[in-house]
Symmetry: C2
Subunit: 249 residues, 2 copies
């Protein structure tokens, strides 16, 4: 696999959904080009991303980024890309457990949508400022119901799979689902530090897992590099202080 | 596979996400038990579904229904179940195209969430009546932007893959993604007949595909049977006339 070259097409200024793919590529040590982060004049930038979306070869065109290219093979949808890469690079369990890694990944993906929709409950095409009232209402439910439910589920999965003995979400080894769980938790911690601070003690396996991912050598090197884009208020995980109040409802 | 017996755990009174799984099982002619539709005293009903969610064997517990059981193997997440069944029963392409079937399925799944959230933009735990104003606003964006975008994508996929020559979403044969596309289109037609009537002529390959799925012998038999639950206002696809107005905005 060392000579495999991947091309990732994703928005150049945010972690977004592309980050889940980057983490698998980085942990695997797989060479890749983050196409839209190259200058336009070197065939990069948003024009390259747009051209990829508009490909019209026979096959399965892609609805939205991220898109992974390997030769003439293109795949989109974050969970599908992560599973594809995970299976190729030793970051997925064998046998039927690979389906369980996928169902865990899809539960994480659902939660990513829910987290995004806290600040965009009406439309992605409108600004946050155009849906602040609805965002406040949706975020209240997110903080009180949805976030604890998701954390509780992850904690239960880790406990049942033996995380206390060094195991991971599924099976004995780290998989792409673990990397994605780290990413979503890191994002939620950025967006909702107050909400998460209150909950932290209740989910020891989950937070320990995030620490274990963070310390994996390739992940640690990546997080310290310039390749890691900082969180910002253009991405999935946005810190709007008014949505992270700890006021009693 | 003829002797394989599956057990599907899903809410007994709605099509919901379980319906995507049922369509794969039905098209494949795979024997299955729709567990929660059995009487409680025969080990069915919602108590059986709850017990399945609360399993605490080592492994990967499931966050939400639908859940498919085959022996001691359990898998959840609609797209993962459909892919699993599709690959076992000749309803998925071979080789790398199987990843493209998955990315198509996940794009369909995203659209299912968007369709659901038209009537529940704030919280699944609140009644529609508690979020009607927000639903009106979200649905307006859905009808004007999101629905045409999704239909346009599907039409483009079908056109590029040669639907005019009898091919399907991906590859030469019908896959689980085609069955799911039929289901979501049927649901949108139930929920938003006015919105869809206006759009219909623009997407000939898409509507032709739905007709082809509907006429597959096992699907036609299923749709005519009592196993097919009628659409209703408890499921993903709900017909609220006030959300399907054709008034000029």
């Amino acid at each position: 696999m060392a000579d495999a070259e991947y091309r990732l097409y994703y928005w150049p200024d945010i972690q977004g959904r592309g980050e889940f793919v980057r983490l698998v590529l980085e942990d695997a040590g797989a060479p890749y080009v983050d196409v839209a982060r190259l200058p336009d004049e070197e065939g990069g930038g948003v024009p390259a991303l747009m051209a990829c979306l508009e490909r019209d070869e026979v096959g399965a065109p892609n609805l939205a980024p991220p898109i992974l290219q390997q030769g003439d093979f293109y795949i989109s949808q974050t969970a599908a890309i992560c599973a594809y890469l995970g299976e190729r690079h030793g970051l997925a369990p064998d046998g039927d457990a690979r389906w369980q890694a996928l169902h865990l990944q899809l539960s994480i993906a659902d939660f990513v949508v829910e987290t995004h929709d806290t600040h965009h409950p009406i439309a992605g095409s409108l600004y946050y400022e155009e849906q602040k009232a609805e965002a406040q209402r949706r975020t209240s439910v997110f903080r009180e119901e949805r976030l604890p439910r998701f954390l509780g589920y992850c904690e239960r999965v880790l406990s049942l799979n033996g995380a206390a003995d060094g195991r991971w979400l599924v099976g004995a080894d780290c998989s792409y689902a673990d990397l994605s769980l780290f990413q979503v938790m890191t994002g939620v911690e950025y967006a909702f530090p107050n909400a998460l601070a209150v909950l932290r003690d209740g989910y020891p396996h989950l937070f320990a897992l995030c620490d274990r991912v963070r310390k994996r050598p390739n992940i640690a090197a990546y997080l310290a590099s310039e390749r890691r884009i900082a969180f910002n208020e253009l991405g999935i995980f946005r810190h709007y202080p008014e949505l992270d109040t700890t006021a009693v409802d």
